[in-house]
């Protein structure tokens, strides 16, 4: 049970505080409600490029990292399709430094040509390192546009293509900031050695003066129902062939989320899962196979990715997967359901071991409705029955809802 307090500043910034005196540190997490889905189709990769620029100095402070390190702090950030998240941990006696730094970059950035030019290059190298220069690194660059024709989930966080990043101008990034970075579009959480009183006082001092901004109402196109199976192929000199299958499924916000998540666990979580026992151990078709749902805030994807044993054909591999999916529509035992529920409970408890993950969890649950969901997850999973899971399987696993990427090794 995580006890917390919540308050909202007059400019709309939501603040959540969880005091944990077992540590001399405090974690601060700031979640901005903007991600790659909010980008213009001709200017993709901006949310992520912007995350890089947030470290290039703010309006009153030339460097973000130096003063933080001087105060013994450490930080990082990530961007996904829905959110951009910044987090740090700092010894509690220097907590005010974190307020100073984070509030100034929420207020405004320095926006220098030099910082933009360098971060453009860095992100281009990141694109190459993670997506182009790795075997199978380009999978999501292919899969997303196959599965989504209308919704902005059709591009990856890194962007559709390198040129979008190379062409980014200072004006572009300034307007992106103005549009999305504001107190009324963010959630701040504090976890650790910090009282509610201190949190309030520091928030009022540093964050409250930041003006509220007009955040556009998000009005994203809805992905039309898919009506036939889609396939694509990549032929490359990779060591082994892989198969990637995605189905449209519910979002993180839908009540079906929990059953869908358990469905993926029964199929593929751990060495006693169906896929592992049947497809890896018994049939020996795959060296590794996983299943998971992406859990995006809009209608999301259910993904199965399998690494084929050399000499196994794509057809046999795909049929074997489909065969397992057919079975799970009609049969889930109570025992295997209880097993995956226990696994979920255990991983939720373990995920609350560190201050920064607690801080992120609280912020994320607040985003999707209520920070207190953090305390209700186990109950929500426990309440799911096998019929619900089988119904989800029947609903999503049919060919017209599926996109497949065949990644063929050409050696």
């Amino acid at each position: 049970m995580i006890k917390f307090d919540r308050f909202t500043l007059s400019n709309g910034l939501t603040v959540i505080v969880h005091e944990d005196n077992s540590s001399p540190l405090v974690a601060m997490n700031i979640l901005y409600k903007v991600g790659a889905r909010d980008e213009d189709a001709h200017k993709t990769g901006f949310a992520h490029l912007f995350e890089h620029l947030m470290f290039g100095g703010s309006i009153n402070i030339s460097s973000y990292d130096e003063p933080l390190q001087m105060a013994g702090g450490e930080n990082n950030a990530f961007t996904n399709n829905d959110i951009t998240n910044y987090y740090l941990t700092i010894p509690s006696q220097n907590l005010e430094t974190a307020f100073w730094l984070e509030s100034d970059r929420m207020l405004s950035l320095a926006f220098t040509e030099k910082s933009l030019e360098v971060q453009r290059n860095v992100v281009v190298e990141e694109f190459k390192q993670r997506y182009l220069n790795q075997p199978y690194g380009d999978v999501w660059l292919m899969l997303r546009p196959l599965a989504y024709k209308v919704h902005p989930y059709q591009w990856a966080t890194i962007g559709k293509e390198i040129s979008h990043i190379e062409d980014a101008t200072l004006q572009d990034v300034k307007s992106f900031f103005k549009k999305w970075y504001a107190p009324n579009n963010a959630i701040l959480t504090l976890v650790g050695n910090c009282t509610l009183e201190t949190a309030k006082q520091l928030c009022e001092k540093w964050f409250e003066p930041i003006p509220v901004s007009n955040i556009p109402v998000r009005n994203l196109p809805i992905e039309p129902k898919q009506s036939e199976k889609r396939t694509a192929e990549i032929n490359k000199p990779v060591p082994n062939s892989n198969i990637y299958m995605v189905w449209h499924c519910c979002s993180r916000l839908d009540p079906e989320f929990y059953a869908t998540d358990l469905l993926s666990d029964i199929l593929a979580r751990g060495k006693s899962s169906r896929f592992y026992l049947r497809l890896v151990k018994e049939l020996k078709f795959f060296t590794d196979i996983s299943a998971y749902m992406l859990g995006d805030l809009d209608k999301s994807l259910f993904m199965i990715e399998g690494k084929l044993v050399n000499g196994i054909s794509m057809k046999d591999a795909e049929d074997a997967i489909l065969n397992e999916l057919e079975k799970i529509k009609h049969d889930i035992s109570e025992q295997e359901l209880q097993k995956v529920k226990n696994k979920v409970e255990s991983s939720l408890v373990f995920s609350e071991m560190s201050l920064d993950s607690k801080a992120l969890n609280l912020a994320y649950y607040e985003l999707i409705g209520d920070a207190n969901l953090v305390n209700e997850q186990i109950t929500k999973y426990q309440g799911i029955g096998s019929i619900e899971i089988m119904n989800i399987a029947k609903e999503i696993f049919h060919p017209e809802n599926c996109s497949v990427l065949y990644y063929n090794a050409t050696k």
């Binding site: 540190l25 220097n94 030019e117 360098v118 190298e125 190459k128 220069n133 060495k271 006693s272 097993k339």
Partner: protein, 423 residues
Amino acid sequence: MLNRTESPALNQSADIKIPEAKIIYINDNIPVIIVNEGTQEVMKVELVFSAGNISEEIPMLASAASELLDEGTRKRSSAEIAEALDNYGAYFQTECGNDFASVSLYSLSRFLPKTLPVLLEIIKEPAYPEKEIATFCVQGKQRLAVNQEKVDFLARKHFINSLYGNQHPYGHFPSEQDFDTLTPEKLISFHKKNYLNGLVAIVIAGKFNDEQLNLAINEIKNASFKKGNVEKLTIPSSPDALQLHIPKEGAVQSAIRIGRRLFNRKHPDYFKFTILNTILGGYFGSRLMSNIREDKGYTYGIGSGIIPQFFDGYFFISTEVGSDVCSEAIKEIHFELNRLISEAIPSSELNLVKSYLTGSFQRSIDGPFSLSDRYKTLVLNGLELDHYYAYLNTLKNVTSEELLETAHHYLEVIHMTQVIIGP
């Protein structure tokens, strides 16, 4: 009016006090590190064995023995083992390093009576079935093939090969042929020597009650492992600095590794070198990151590190850069090495790194798992708690002049081995 241009006053942290762990000894003096704190009722039970790469007579044996532990015991199949742990949401982890191999169980504390016996069965009675070995080899070969396509993997491999020679346990990387030498007999005899007779330390960490702790200690006692010792290892003399460029067609980035053999935690210059390394490439604001990523934009990331081993240790710089700027990047790396040798570090920069490292150390003792890892490092390397206090003391007092001298000793470019993988 709020002054946003000036940093709030910084408070020096009071002297760091490392929370005490309890260490007891069982079965012929095997240390048990006990850390009971935190907020979550979970437990980690870890057993460390002298079963790392240095204990193997043929390549790959140590890592295969470790990875195949849970693939079947004399009583249960691999599926049954997985099921037995999965039923309680417990996780099982094996690690095989150069010096030691360890096996850990992560479990909700209330399920420990159900999960710990499974862990001990896995470690005590692995069957190493032929069928599972075959699967392991198929998977291992496939992983290896994928890695062979990655420039950073190849750079690491050739770099380590050059430092220790590719036949030495510290320098060897598994090849495809190594997989074909595995047999159940070799695994069983390795297991007997290095696991059943090779326990060197036990860690019990998390939040638990006395009953759970006593259960853990008694179960481990009753498993009656024999105490192990680290194998003697001959370390070859340091090789001449080597320059290797291995072509990789079609790579859009080149991987670079630059470094040399150095020393381990027991060397008198270890702490000073750790601080120097941080300044060079050990944190986000390091000189290499500032210059090569933040100023030039040649890379997504660049870093350096010192790897202390039970015997010996080494230092390395690693990065992946756009292939077109590879030689410029190397020039800048050399420039930064030379700068550390020829100019004293400005006090503002040194103070920053001291604060950063002090904060990092605080983070590294936060929470029962991290704290127990710190104690494990001490126990495995035959060090005492004063080792960390000596480090904190060095952090507080070291001067730029002392670091200049340390840099001069260890960071000359002519002593560096350099490996490039790329077009």
